[in-house]
Symmetry: C2
Subunit: 402 residues, 2 copies
């Protein structure tokens, strides 16, 4: 397995795409179409927020009706089409109908996805003009613009790709994703689209994708806010020509490892580009009784405004870290716990470790920080990725006007 | 019932106090003693954080052993004596022993309480010098300094008092409290001490105080972080001379109403002085199926960094409010919900309300904001008080160095 240089979403065989600036946003590309030459097997995870955007509600229905088969995606940024009631649902249906007409892909194999401001209606005039501009000129090269077209407050494009060999055939998996606020995915962050030319059993794909989302996107947080539009989706069109990958085989393990590596990079790229982020923080809770409890404690730490501001200020305020783990209703004995920052014990067996002020402060200066809490209640662990809370985060979110 | 002007913690009969600057903090008074002339009936609520400070652990044990009787309190700020292991427990015991010796109050009727930095040992030399300075000069006038001595990052003292008439006898209830970070009490915020000269049945006192804490302190949040030192405590010494207040009587109702009014003022004063706060926000979730679910949704909104930064930026970003309520695992249909800001509907029956940009922005300019979400799943409601998230919050917490 190796990572591809300058990957694009159309690198796997049989995918074409196009992107344009339809005017939902002021300066960037904000609309794209991704299409497979043939219907692809799909697995998709949507937000668990009770408030689901219109395209999420429509997409869930589409995939249910098509038996999780999909051939084309249309994605806009700049407007989330969320909180838009019945008008929002009509706008999704109209978008899909127009794309179907122009591309020849049946409506029931098209999924629309949106990200951006919540609570405003889609400007359907802009959508129509944008669709007119790109629906007829999909190409392999067109994939390069898609990573830009899905961004909101992100500062960099996030495009990744890996190649593996499956029984003599080259299989490619590529993904694009976006952040960078309203990030604590609970099924997948705001947007993550993965294409592959693998031929893989549909049930196995579902199982592997679920596991990969749970261990990548569902373990990151920027601000603890689960979005209304979270969508993570993989399409596999089988055009690599490999024998169908089956459950329990070495090929299944290889595909899973490659997808996991890809999606972890995608998820981490969101944290690195988190709104106002100056640090990349890995929070590990070890030797907990269950994975769920380890995860709760790790998210307790990762989402604490007091921990995040201390990290921004490079303050070795480990009391905030320990107490954040203590407030999530998980039983443990702080009198026996250990806490490390970057491999240095700062609290051990329930007692503070004596370090000089200089030693403590030095702990906090790296851009990458590892926080490790060992609670000794069992054998399970969880690792969560997060950023700090800076003036810039407040600026971005206080000035991002609706 | 009426509120007292310039109240102090020693206004109820039989209480004396003293405060001093022991040097735990640089500029302010940071140590105080409050004493009742006779042992008082007590009810106390401590933090539910798994990481409990040494004085909290010691205080829980003391009250259990004394049958919830208490005669003296010693409180320091500037150091929380939390995360300090066995040394921390010894320091509490020594503090209590010294005060007992100097004041004549038995050790088992003394409770120590601390607030401040987590993870550093108490400077016992400063404690001893401070105790020496004040233990012999307790007075009614000395109560005035206590409100200052318990503060940390607070910008104002928080002292409140009410008087009621119980069967011809004047009964006084006074309280002091502190904020202003690490505030999402889960039994009581950082510190709240209430004294009264009422004579009240001990079981009834426990029941009334529990209810008042649940409906005041447990409904506020500044930053969603439950402290290691949260302590709320009431002492009633019976020196008002009223006939003992009994369960189910009009006097019990009056005492409860007065205590509730007092504690709501105390709790709200913490939010108003929340770190970096520029707004006072009341979040109501109405017509939910249960109180617990209404409370979860209200806290989901009140703790969202995206909601809090939007409020700071005076941005009518109601999509963030609605989606914050949607992410706390409580079932409701956003397609039927209503959302109001200051009595103006901004989202109604699942659809956005058409308002001009000026109308929307005008909604956000008052210092006091009422956010009301109606979910129509039942008949229960909850009201939570919170502040916004400003540059100043980040500054205070990034620069508050350990």
């Amino acid at each position: 397995m190796y990572f591809i240089d300058n990957p694009k979403i159309t690198d796997p065989k049989g995918y074409t795409a196009a992107a344009t600036r339809a005017g939902f946003k002021r300066k960037r590309k904000d609309l794209c179409i991704i299409k497979s030459a043939v219907p692809a097997r799909c697995s998709a995870k949507f937000t668990r927020n009770m408030v689901k955007a219109a395209p999420v509600l429509a997409g869930m229905k589409t995939l249910k009706n098509s038996g999780n088969m999909l051939q084309a995606l249309i994605v806009n940024s700049g407007n989330a089409n969320a909180g838009t009631g019945s008008q929002g649902m009509q706008d999704v249906a109209e978008t899909v109908a127009i794309l179907s007409q122009k591309s020849g892909v049946p409506e029931n194999l098209i999924l629309a996805s949106s990200t951006g401001v919540i609570g405003e209606f889609l400007d359907m005039e802009k959508m129509k003009v944008g669709l007119d501009a790109i629906a007829h000129r999909l190409s392999v090269d067109g994939g390069a613009g898609c990573a830009e077209a899905i961004l909101t407050t992100d500062t960099v494009e996030k495009s990744f790709g890996v190649k593996i060999d499956i029984q003599g055939k080259e299989v490619t998996i590529c993904g694009i994703t976006k952040g960078s606020g309203m990030i604590q995915p609970n099924m997948a962050t705001t947007l993550a689209f993965v294409t592959s030319d693998a031929d893989i059993d549909h049930g196995l794909l579902e199982q592997i994708f679920t596991d990969c989302v749970n261990r990548s996107y569902n373990m990151i947080t920027v601000d603890g806010h689960t979005s209304t539009n979270d969508t993570a989706l993989i399409m596999t069109n089988g055009l690599a020509g490999n024998p169908t990958i089956q459950t329990g085989t070495p090929e299944a393990k290889l595909f899973q490892a490659a997808l996991m590596a890809l999606m972890l990079e995608m998820a981490k790229s969101i944290v690195k580009d988190g709104e106002g982020a100056t640090k990349f923080v890995t929070v590990s809770v070890k030797q907990a009784d269950t994975f769920e409890n380890a995860k709760k404690m790790a998210f307790g730490i990762a989402n604490s405004a007091l921990v995040k501001t201390a990290i921004f200020g490079e303050d070795p305020n480990w009391g905030r870290i320990l107490s954040a783990a203590g407030m999530v209703d998980v039983e443990f004995d702080p009198g026996k716990a250990d806490l490390q920052i970057n491999d240095v014990y700062i609290y051990q067996n329930g007692n503070p470790v004596t370090l000089t002020k200089t030693e403590k402060q030095k702990l906090m200066t790296p851009v990458k920080l590892d926080i490790i809490l060992n609670v000794y209640t069992g054998a399970e662990s969880a690792m969560v990725y997060t950023s700090d809370l800076s003036y810039e985060y407040v600026r971005i979110n206080a000035e991002y006007h609706t």
